[in-house]
Symmetry: C2
Subunit: 205 residues, 2 copies
Amino acid sequence: MAELNETTGIPIPTIKYYIREGLVAPGRPTGRNQADYTEEHVRRLKLVRALVEYGGLSIAVIRDLIAQVDNPELEAFDLLAAAQKTVTQAKDPRPGPYKDGAERRLHDLLAKRGWRIRTGDPAYRTAVGVLAALDEVGRQDMLDVLDDYAEAAERIAEIDLGLIGDVRDRDRAVEIVVIGTSVGDTLVATLRRLAQATVGERLYT
Amino acid sequence: MAELNETTGIPIPTIKYYIREGLVAPGRPTGRNQADYTEEHVRRLKLVRALVEYGGLSIAVIRDLIAQVDNPELEAFDLLAAAQKTVTQAKDPRPGPYKDGAERRLHDLLAKRGWRIRTGDPAYRTAVGVLAALDEVGRQDMLDVLDDYAEAAERIAEIDLGLIGDVRDRDRAVEIVVIGTSVGDTLVATLRRLAQATVGERLYT
């Protein structure tokens, strides 16, 4: 375990915590207070750290994801869909006129762009909530350019999907979806901020 | 306060908590256990709720933002920059080869796109961390298409900046930056997921 700590830089108490929470498999015992760890342990530790630090995922969500990967009943396609849903935590909007308006607006957008409407999806429910919240705080200007944002998001989705094209390994495919979605959100958000500084100067100076 | 609760749907204990934490001004006392609240209180309550629910901001960060708005020493431009920095919580990368590689990669990207390099910025530091984490978990494929992601992010920044063009009111400008950045991240992330479902079908079925 001292070696694991040295290789990954993750503190030993954190490694123990990850093992206890079922995020990382225990090592193969080789004696009292001794265990063997493999490259697979190092890989998994680094993955969990990246998801916590830059993916914004909670330990509970990561545990759910790992349970899905370790469930042999799930076919690859269903596994990917399940992983995607787990990473996307839904926030349901409050019922009321803002919600109704947001739902209509989202339907129009999805129809216009030819996107699938799946009202039960966490992303769908969160989208309704975000649109309702923007309306409620008086940001109709953002709603007016919703289609522009959607077009940029579609471009990002194309880049995302281009990357999982020829992955054959089931576990690796899930890793790619999970990292791509969660850490990918942080990547896009961060690039957006870096771009804002420059675009702002171009436009206003 | 019962009326505030009725208008906004925010539970009274939550309203009291926001007032106690300095996020919302107290009402004008009109008697024992009675106070007057204005439209401004309703507006502010809805703003705080949107930032908590869909902007992913903590109470402490929102308190910092409000302190900046209420600081008359800050000029509008500095206020916007300060607000933007406060919304962007930096996560510094660990020193080491992954960090060094990420920094080189980010410099190349910024130079290629003509984006400003401000190494102290929270967004810059987080970008280095995200790139290092992606490298460390074996997602070089995402790094290979970094420029594509950056191009899409630049498009989003152009949409963002187009919206604050003719806002003259100082407080309203901050509101726009704060909502646009924090709730905007959730909007983009959510649209990305909705698009992925459709793009995935187009590509793979």
